[in-house]
Chain length 327, copies 2
């Protein structure tokens, strides 16, 4: 019997989840929920589509609901709302607000005796695991997270809001010299701006003042002002042809010392190179849905993070085989 999955939200992430389900023999998509008119959506693999207003009818028909909304306004409301009736997984990624989100989801899940797993993906998610394992093993050390090369939706949106801009894509790029210093165990002090630079591809509206736009981008506080920023003006065709994907990735590096006089340096590095950020995040969500299902079967309730989950719970392979083949 397959684990019955619901997909709540039909953007890039929801579409990625649909595709990720195909790669996993033990899960099955039973419903997509959308705020739009369901009749306007056709899924690639034939999963039926319903309005979000119909979700309560599925309480007994879905084992795990994968929430595919955004972290800014969707998930803070949706995850606590659904966690009382469904086992849920989400990819809530506003780091500073994770504790309050966890606590809201935990209360809801406990009320309904359900299991929830929040902030799943690659950062937070796999990168968090890399930080945790590495710091537990090398307590005397320092860790660094570099993001990119990849498209930042938030920064692309910020450029699009500037007057005269028709479209834009922003790449976050790790600074190579900073990575080299970290890998050498030098434990430098680095701000986010010292670790990253920003490259922008911008399409302007006819007659727009490019010099003013470039200045507005480079001086935008928080987003660009502190960073080395490069702006390229390109045609709409070039943007669509060369910059339509959503690649991303990054590296977590921890270097630490051991030995009587701390004479030995060790470097632990975890890196991702992703052609499609939403499809990869969706793949993490699906593996985590399996873990949630198993936790619920065991009677666990409340909200968890990846820090709480035995790694084997994420795999479709049985424990004996995992131990024989992967340990």
């Amino acid at each position: 019997m397959s684990i019955r999955i619901g997909i709540y939200g039909w953007g890039n992430l929801g579409r990625g989840v649909e595709l990720a389900l195909r790669a996993n023999p033990d899960v099955e998509g039973v419903a997509v929920f959308t705020r739009r008119d369901p009749s306007t959506i056709v899924t690639k693999t034939g999963i039926p589509v319903y309005g979000v207003w119909e979700v309560e009818k599925f309480a007994k028909k879905i084992d795990v609901m994968i929430l595919c909304g955004g972290s800014a306004t969707d998930l803070p409301v949706q995850t606590p709302l659904l966690a009382e009736k469904f086992c849920v997984v989400d990819s809530f990624d506003t780091h500073a607000k994770i504790p309050q989100h966890l606590s809201a989801v935990d209360a809801a899940a406990r009320k309904g005796d359900k299991t929830a797993l929040i902030s799943v993906g690659w950062d937070p998610g796999l990168f968090s695991l890399a930080r945790l394992y590495a710091s537990a093993i090398l307590p005397e050390g320092k860790d660094y997270t570099f993001w990119g090369k990849g498209v930042s939706q938030g920064h692309s949106d910020a450029i699009r809001r500037i007057e005269g801009v028709a479209d834009a894509k922003q790449y976050t790029i790790p600074v190579n010299a900073a990575m080299v210093a970290v890998r050498e165990g030098k434990e430098p002090d680095l701000t986010t701006a010292q670790k990253h630079e920003r490259e922008c591809f911008v399409v302007v509206k006819e007659g727009a003042d490019k010099a003013r736009i470039e200045k507005e981008i480079k001086e935008m506080p928080n987003y660009f002002a502190d960073y080395k920023t490069t702006v390229h003006f390109v045609s709409e065709e070039e943007l669509n042809e060369k910059h339509s994907g959503l690649p991303h990735g990054g590296v977590v590096i921890r270097s630490g010392k051991t030995g009587l006089e701390k004479e030995h340096t060790h470097t632990i590095e975890y890196s991702l190179k992703l052609d499609s950020n939403p499809e990869f995040t969706a793949s993490v969500l699906v593996a985590c849905a399996r873990a949630v299902y198993r936790l619920q079967q065991e009677g666990a309730t409340g909200a968890k993070t990846l820090f709480d989950i035995p790694p084997a719970y994420l795999s479709s392979v049985d424990r004996d085989t995992l131990i024989a083949k992967m340990l």
Copy 2:
């Protein structure tokens, strides 16, 4: 109150554990056990030393015993023997024999209501975790493990057994072209010999026939015959000066596909660069001892692997802080 740790076996690994304990505020070394005359050993931090024949007296004085013997002959006997009376951690690393070791340790631990954690270190251990997480997330893909650059004790020993050899160090080195092909997502089929080459530094006894020794090394079945092998003859002084350390490391890479037509490639890479293999392995053992202690407090019994352990159990940091700072 600290977690009281015993160190069973006083070689490179045991000495590494003693040093690793200092880096962890919540653990305390209470006894070292040796097969030698305890009066001949002085520990760096003053942990008292006892004969292995005295170990039973410590049943109530040690929370977790860290076993620091070798996988060939020590651990298959020692871990099951001690697991009935003590909570234990070991670094058993003979991959093919892990299932039978697990089962022997499990039976002993259950008999005494104790918790055991076996095959801890970096491979098996952290590399196993990297393989498990990556394959759970990208089921349609392939993973590769590269070892090195690092000293292989087994291969160094094999050279030392050749007639006329006074001393030797062997480095296992990953083949760069193979790593590049894997990182590009080409999913090549590669044997261990295609992924690694071997570099040997050999000191010969006076009058020994270097040509014969080089031939014997390069033709040694299993160890060298299938590999590109380089032999350097060096003086004893040079060997001691330049090759006395025990560095090691390696990389686990999984590449996998997602998308409707599998058009997107993702690469997950986990790598280690270690100045001291035994001190790093010891650091993993100490973090795992903490996890064993917590599992025992919860009432868990039997033999576990890292696949079974919630990651947070390895850290000395409390869950709320982990979630706030590392997730």
